[in-house]
């Protein structure tokens, strides 16, 4: 039987492909407890690959009955990297979480699991762990629990009562693509049916930090268009997903190797479109228009610049008269800088110099061709396009 160090190595390793971001939860703080998830701050730890690991991310067990072809825990994974089968006891996991939290390594727990015997059986163990944390050890930090495909309604509710956020991995954008990668799970019954329970739970006050999902990119023959259609549907009011994550499918190899940045460019473009929909409130139609005839997002250019070029009649925008929404459409201007510009204008401060824009946080190189400051247009769009071609 492996000790806690070995278990942590095996079950941490098996969970590293799951994505999550630590976040604040609107759940009220319980005085006298350990930790707090109310206030936001900087994440507590990052890896040399640039990913945040502010949550202790582990599996309860790496035993799994499913045969997903992209997953390290799959029954079809015949490579030697498949580790010894092991499991955490709920008590062990609860103590480990508190120990890391007190040392200021983490902000909370991200608990996932392979499907050992059945989804419901595994959900019970996840629930027991969360219950120990919340009620025995008075842990008030952030908890993100992974919902296993095919979980029952009651089991899901019990977990949702204790977690700040839950997530269920959709993995592929539709049933056809899903079936290309897994034969033991049913897209409609195990994924969509369970997902449909989440909005009601959130409305009744459970899972205060909402629910998320994740796609594995490149595991099947799916196109970006198929992914974006699924993503936009899940951001609709009916589904109301808080976030959706994208993870490039990596080959299961004995000796992992570094890839060039281009290898992850597709994932990066999907994240950019996701932000344009979620934060910048671009419409699904204009975002889908970025996709080319073969159904993929062109990798060469930032989608926001592509959309700005396609709507050249809208530019240049007058920096001192534009609304928040107009400013958000300008490449190089984000939520923070747009808000600062509006706040300054409300205090009677107008922008006259590029230098002011720079201190506000605007990325001048990208923004100037689309802005009018006073009577001056900084660079015409035609000039900009010529400059880009020359570059």
């Amino acid at each position: 039987m492996p000790g806690i160090l070995e278990k942590l190595r095996i079950l941490g390793e098996a969970a590293k492909y799951d994505l999550c971001a630590s976040t604040a939860s609107p759940r009220a703080h319980t005085p006298g407890s350990i930790g707090k998830s109310v206030t936001t701050g900087v994440c507590h730890s990052f890896l040399p690959d640039g990913r945040c690991i502010s949550l202790l991310k582990v599996l309860v067990t790496n035993r799994c009955i499913h045969d997903c072809k992209y997953c390290v825990n799959s029954t079809k994974n015949k490579t030697k990297i498949k580790q010894t089968i092991t499991s955490f006891e709920p008590e062990e996991l609860a103590k480990l979480t508190i120990a890391f939290y007190l040392r200021n390594y983490i902000e909370g727990l991200f608990l996932s699991s392979g499907v050992g015997k059945s989804a419901n059986c595994q959900a019970e163990i996840i629930h027991e762990t969360l219950h120990l944390l919340r009620y025995k050890y008075n842990f008030d930090g952030y908890i993100h629990a992974k919902v296993l495909p095919g979980i029952g309604k009651d089991e899901l509710y019990r977990i949702a009562e204790l977690a700040d956020r839950v997530s269920l991995n959709v993995e592929l954008p539709n049933k056809t693509r899903f079936n290309e990668t897994c034969s033991t799970k049913d897209y409609t019954n195990d994924i969509i049916k369970v997902t449909k329970l989440l909005p009601d739970m959130n409305k009744t006050g459970h899972i205060p930090a909402g629910y998320t999902t994740q796609y594995v990119i490149g595991a099947a023959e799916e196109t970006d268009k198929e992914i974006l259609e699924a993503v936009f549907k899940f951001y609709d009011e009916d589904w109301n997903f808080r976030r959706q994550y994208y993870s490039t499918c990596l080959p299961l190899e004995l000796k992992p190797r570094s890839f060039p940045r281009d290898f992850f460019l597709r994932e990066h473009r999907l994240y950019q479109i996701d932000w344009l929909r979620r934060i910048y409130k671009f419409s699904p139609d204009e975002l889908i228009s970025v996709v080319n005839d073969t159904g993929f997002i062109p990798l060469k250019e930032d989608p926001k610049v592509t959309i700005a070029r396609e709507n050249s009649e809208f530019f240049p925008v007058d920096i001192n008269n534009a609304t928040y929404r107009d400013l958000m459409r300008v490449p190089g201007v984000g939520h923070t800088s747009a808000t600062r510009i509006i706040n300054l204008r409300n205090k009677g401060v107008l922008i006259h110099k590029n230098e002011q824009l720079k201190t506000i946080g605007v990325v001048l190189k990208r923004a100037l061709p689309f802005l009018k400051i006073g009577e001056k247009k900084q660079l015409t769009l035609a000039d900009f396009q010529k400059k880009e071609e020359n570059d």
């Binding site: 806690i4 160090l5 942590l8 190595r9 941490g12 390793e13 590293k16 492909y17 005085p31 006298g32 407890s33 350990i34 930790g35 707090k36 206030t39 701050g41 900087v42 994440c43 507590h44 730890s45 990052f46 890896l47 040399p48 690959d49 640039g50 990913r51 945040c52 690991i53 202790l56 991310k57 103590k95 480990l96 508190i98 120990a99 890391f100 007190l102 040392r103 200021n104 390594y105 990596l250 992992p256 190797r257 570094s258 890839f259 060039p260 940045r261 281009d262 290898f263 992850f264 923070t336 600062r340 706040n343 300054l344 205090k347 401060v349 110099k353 230098e355 002011q356 201190t359 506000i360």
Partner: protein
Amino acid sequence: MSWVCNLSASEYVEAAKYHKDTTVDFIEKALLLMKSQPYEITTGCSVFGKQIKKRANQVLREIHLLSAYLRLQPYQEMILVGSCKPEHNSVYFIAKTIAKRFDQFIIVIFSSSDFAVVSNRRDIPHFPNFSGSSREDIINSVRDFAARNITQKLPEDLILDEGDLLWEKYYETQFLEQRLNPKLFHKFIPKYAIEKAEMKIEGKFLKKIEHQSKKECSTLDSFL
């Protein structure tokens, strides 16, 4: 003082006071500017306004980063002890920020020249002046004080002696070699923060994999 990103002129001046280079003369001039032309501080559009904003941001950034990245050592007497090397006079604010998360604990933070003892516990309105010739002495006097004043104890098995070793192992397992990107890593944890927050484990691991980042292939063709 508020620690949000978009501050008012008075908040910028307040934060700039704790900068290592700030003098009484600087503070007086800053207060004058704040009254006459506060927007010069918030937008940084004049030389002095920009200087105030820059100093304030440096102090706030230090508090923000160090309170997240410094590591703590728990003690049974409900004490968490940490150590860092802040450049500015921010050790008290770092301890205050950490105390927000641990309102049942006494937080002790050491810097190279100073230390702060902070708690949000309501049953301890005031601390005595802790002193000692070494860090150990100070920690012991805080432990004595806590033992006398706090009945609650942290269960021993939650302290987990090998906690740092477990974190080291865990940290290594989470790394995805295929995505190695030290540039992105340093965007979040700047090199100086690793040193100032005394992040030994992260620093050690980074050194171990440094040679791999040099071998990283640069084009998609070389991968294929």
